[in-house]
Each structure stands twice: as C-alpha cells, then as structure tokens.
Symmetry: C5
Subunit: 99 residues, 5 copies
C-alpha cells in the first residue's frame, strides 16, 4: 500500500455506470521521511470516509475491488485506511491532528 495525502476531489457526470455514486478523491503520494508530497497524483475510490488533508494509504490492483464500497466495480486504487501515526526507527514522525 502507498501513503498519500487527500488533496482534492474529482467530479464526473459522464462515467461508466458501475462507478455511479462513488466518491473520487485526488491523492498526492508522500515521502514518509519528510511527509512532503512527491508531485505524483492519482484518483482513488474511498472505502473509509477520508477527508481533505488527511494522510491515508490506498491499495492498488485487483485488491482495490475487495472492499464493500468497490466490490464488482472497475477500481484500481481504493483508500483502505486513514493514518493516525507513522513511526520511523522508534520516532513518531506523524500524528494525526497534531502535526
């Protein structure tokens, strides 16, 4: 799974019927050592109710279809967790709502 920050949303009216009603979040991948964005973006479906600026991780590939939200839908990236803490070598480098 890859870490990213929710930076926005993507809206579409003309789309494949199987993805009607799904929320599309725009993510920027981050470097967890610095918590900075990497300038690399993707659109992910959301199975956990993630909001703007939250740090999340998403699952890619066929596993992106293995959540209640995305089952049977053409998904290749689904947010499966909102991150509370990242710890590197015993040091807390990120804590939600305290950064």
């Amino acid at each position: 799974m890859i870490l990213g920050r929710v930076i926005g949303t993507v809206v579409s009216t003309r789309k494949e019927p199987k993805i009607e009603g799904i929320k599309f979040l725009l993510l920027e991948k981050i470097n967890p050592e610095t918590m900075k964005g990497k300038g690399d973006y993707l659109v992910a479906m959301d199975s956990v109710g993630a909001g703007l600026d939250e740090i999340v991780f998403y699952v890619a590939g066929s596993s992106a279809r293995m959540t209640a939200t995305t089952e049977g839908r053409p998904a290749d990236a689904t947010i499966t967790a909102i991150v509370d803490e990242i710890d590197i070598s015993g040091k807390l480098v990120y804590q939600k709502d305290r950064i």
Copy 2:
C-alpha cells in the same frame, strides 16, 4: 485511476479478434496541479464516449475488463470517466468547457 487528456487516436487493421470494433484513444497523463501533460502516453479503450482534448481518468489492470465495452477482452487501460471538475484544497483547478 490516473488522469489524462485525450490527444488522439490509434488505428489498427491487423489486431487480436477480441478487440475488433473497439476505439483506441491516445492519452497523455497530466499533472492535476498544473493541468499540463507529463510526456507519458498510453493507448486506452473507451467505455464512455470520450473525445479529443477531454480530461478523463482511466482504470488499469484487471479492472480494465470490468466495463460493458471491455468485458472478456484483452484490455489493461479503459477510460471510465470524463472529468467535469477537479478541485484541489477547495479551489476549482479545472472545469470542463470553461478552462
């Protein structure tokens, strides 16, 4: 899913029978912060009737076969949405037909 701009078409007469009758669109991936092309290209099948210069997102991998258009076909990239709006940090960075 990855954002791209439809920049052209690819035509083939000699091809795998399972992809006969499919339209092949040429996409350039874009950076949603700038809406500029990244110089990275791919050929996608189209499940939504996308046209030249439209901003779309496509689904990759096995999910590319999960649309009415591509079911049972050797697809690894299928356009599943024409994008109307992209919003980053509360600002509208892209709006179809108004950019």
Copy 3:
C-alpha cells in the same frame, strides 16, 4: 496498452514448457509525439504476426493471457495490434509503410 517498435527477437531453448512454440519479440517503447524510442525494452509474446520495425501496441498484466496464442500461458505482455495510423490533435503523425 503501450506503443512500441519491434526491434528484434529473443531465442530460448531452456524455458518453461508452457511457453514452448511461442515467438518472443523484443520491443522498444516509443514516444508517439516523436515516434522515437524511449530506451525502455521488454519481451512480448505475439498474437498478431508482427514483424521487425513495425509499430504495435501490447497489453500487460493478466489480460496478456486473453488471446488465442497466450491463453493459459505465463505471459505478462502480448502484442494485440499492429498499428496503421496514429493521429494526434487531428494530424497524422504516423502511417504504416509511408513514414
């Protein structure tokens, strides 16, 4: 799918039995804006009878097994089309046998 030029062949006598009798073509990925090679190479199975110097596209991942030639075989890249024309923004940038 990704565009490439057939630049050669790969021969193997000691190989997995399931890929006996398959032709392995060496592809260089191309940039369709310039039609130049990107210095990025792969070995693809061929379902369409592609030949040296032809521009093709190949399908990657599990869909590489979805052609008559590759069904049930360990393939991750299969050529599914020989390209006749590439059109970018209404201009013909490539035409087979005329470039």
Copy 4:
C-alpha cells in the same frame, strides 16, 4: 519480489474492516549492491513477524493475498520472507545479525 528494510510502522484506527488486526510495516526499498535505502517507501502487511531494521522481501499484486495472514483481504504488498543472506557473484554482501 523486492528487497526492503523495515523502517517503521503505520497505525490506523479508521480503516476497511477486512484489514482489522493486521500489522502495517513501513518498508524502504534497498539496493542490494550497496544495501542502502533508495528513498522509495511502501506499507506492507506482514505474514512472517518481521521486526525493525530487518531486511525482507515482499510480494506485490494479487499474490499479496496468498498468505494465511492476508487471504481474502485487500492487500497489494505482503512480506513473505525475512532475509538471512544475500550473495552477489559468489560474495556474501549481507548476513543477518552480522552486518
């Protein structure tokens, strides 16, 4: 499979129910010639009880669901081995607990 070093952990309370109870380890991919980190990070599920600073390899894609720990779960990266030794061209370049 790709080699990495376990550099930390990721904690999440709000997550997809199917990944409850799973430990998420933060890995940095390494270059086995130098054993140095490549500045490229991912979150992996753990099927072998890996600990901080250990060198491991993980499996990506649909195979990430093929361990007792991850079966039926939305996983795209699972640690399947703790590495004891890496040998390059007949020279031992890494030995666990002795480096």
Copy 5:
C-alpha cells in the same frame, strides 16, 4: 517479460510456508542494446534452473504463479526462460557462452 542477468541468490529461513523449498535468485535488469545492468534489482523464483551470470527473462504479476514450480504460491516474478540469443535489427547482440 523483462530481461535480466542472474547476479546472486537470496536465502531466508523465516518465510511464508508456501514458499519453502523455492530457490530465490537475485536479478539485475539489463538494457538489451548494451547488455549492461540497469542498477535495478529484484528477487525471482526460478522455474528453469537458471544459474549465475545467465541472461534470463521473467514474467511478473499473476502469471508468475503459472509454472509447475510456482503454482498456488505467492510469487510475483518467476524466471521462465534462459536466453540463448538476442537479435536486434538483424544483428546478433547476445549469444550464450560466446559473449
């Protein structure tokens, strides 16, 4: 499939039970134009008995499980051929045991 050179081995005692008894080879991807290594490494399972310094190609993704050696195992890269010859534009650029 991607071309690589077998540069070493990886040994693990603590690993997922399903990969017990499998040999893990360390590969460096190569550029077939120059036959030089690209500084990009991976661990592959071996279905063909490849040895040190041999040029091989491996299959990635779900197809990595489609050999007698790897069926039902969490594999994402399996060597499926030892390469005898690589021919680019009609010139033999690599021949096994003669390079």
